[in-house]
Symmetry: C2
Subunit: 194 residues, 2 copies
Amino acid sequence: MAGKKQFDMDTALDAAMIQFWRDGYADTSLDDLSRATGLNRSSIYSSLGDKDTLFLRCLDLYAARYGEKYDAALSCAASEPVAAVRAFFDVTLERIADPELPDGCLIAQTAMAIPVLSPSVAAHAKQALGFQRLRLRAALKAGGLTDQEAEALAVHAAAVNQSLAVMSRAGASPAQLLAIVGVTVDALSQALRA
Amino acid sequence: MAGKKQFDMDTALDAAMIQFWRDGYADTSLDDLSRATGLNRSSIYSSLGDKDTLFLRCLDLYAARYGEKYDAALSCAASEPVAAVRAFFDVTLERIADPELPDGCLIAQTAMAIPVLSPSVAAHAKQALGFQRLRLRAALKAGGLTDQEAEALAVHAAAVNQSLAVMSRAGASPAQLLAIVGVTVDALSQALRA
DNA sequence: CACATCTTGAACTGATCAGTTCAGAATAGA
DNA sequence: TCTATTCTGAACTGATCAGTTCAAGATGTG
């Protein structure tokens, strides 16, 4: 069982991310991480760093992975802004519908715990939410909204996207989640018609 | 220091509620509660029960207190539905703006932690969110929306209300929070115009 | 075979946690 | 004054936590 790397770093990081995602930072112990990754306590410590460092890596992995998907969804915003925003929300809805993945959202969960988290972790979470808003704003401006409209709808859409995390954890049905984003998409259609 | 009750139960419960609200269940220790309430460890145990019981009481106190305010805000829905929903969100926005109170929302925070909470606590949180939706739905129907529209807008508004908890924790400005609810209020105006 | 590399399990430290108990101090009312 | 009630501080249990260390075992490479 030695001589060469026995585990895939990315797989382990993935498992750790999902563990943090489901239970949150406070309720995830090193033993939980050890169980989730299949790695020994010592191995985690020596190759992934301590709990804080590992959590930061997981946050970044999460932001990068889904950030790409959100970007891809919004890429058609210039020609079809409504479809783009719908696709944006679909990224989240599909993630929630995936039985392999936890409900909720790692960023939202982390944001809610900001008062008890380290400043660096808090900063990463805030930054991730900021990126989301900027992504949406750029797309909406490309889609033809004014600066003001784009700003307002971007922060609204980012918030609604986070709300899906709360509502899914509280047991909302897929139909209800769809209704939540439906109102927002309709509001965008309306804004574009003006 | 004895012979008669030395502390006001409601005051103590209030302090405990705020402590849970700010730091969440997992990150609140009995020592934190002792400090917050000014009560001895033993006194908490003997007069407020164990951590789980106390948390349930705090959840109920929170739901009752703000439930009343939400109801009052929505009471004019039949004649002025848009103003009613705006007043509904104002309850949350004023709570967030109050420097005496934590950001966020106890219900939202609890909902996010459902996977690691006891079933009874999870049930209380879900119930509270369910009430919020029913409150909104009744108001919107009274305001003249169809059943379908009222259902969709109610779950949307309840979600947006929860999103304010996430966004305020992530450092969103009052103007941004206002923009978030603005889009929803506009969507309601539009629905009523049809 | 020998060595460098990797992995493991176990242990230990110092800290915190919830829950519980209890003796004693303080006090209000009879 | 006597007594029932209330409060307090301290202690203890059994558990978990993060962080760290290390010796022993396993394996691939040269």
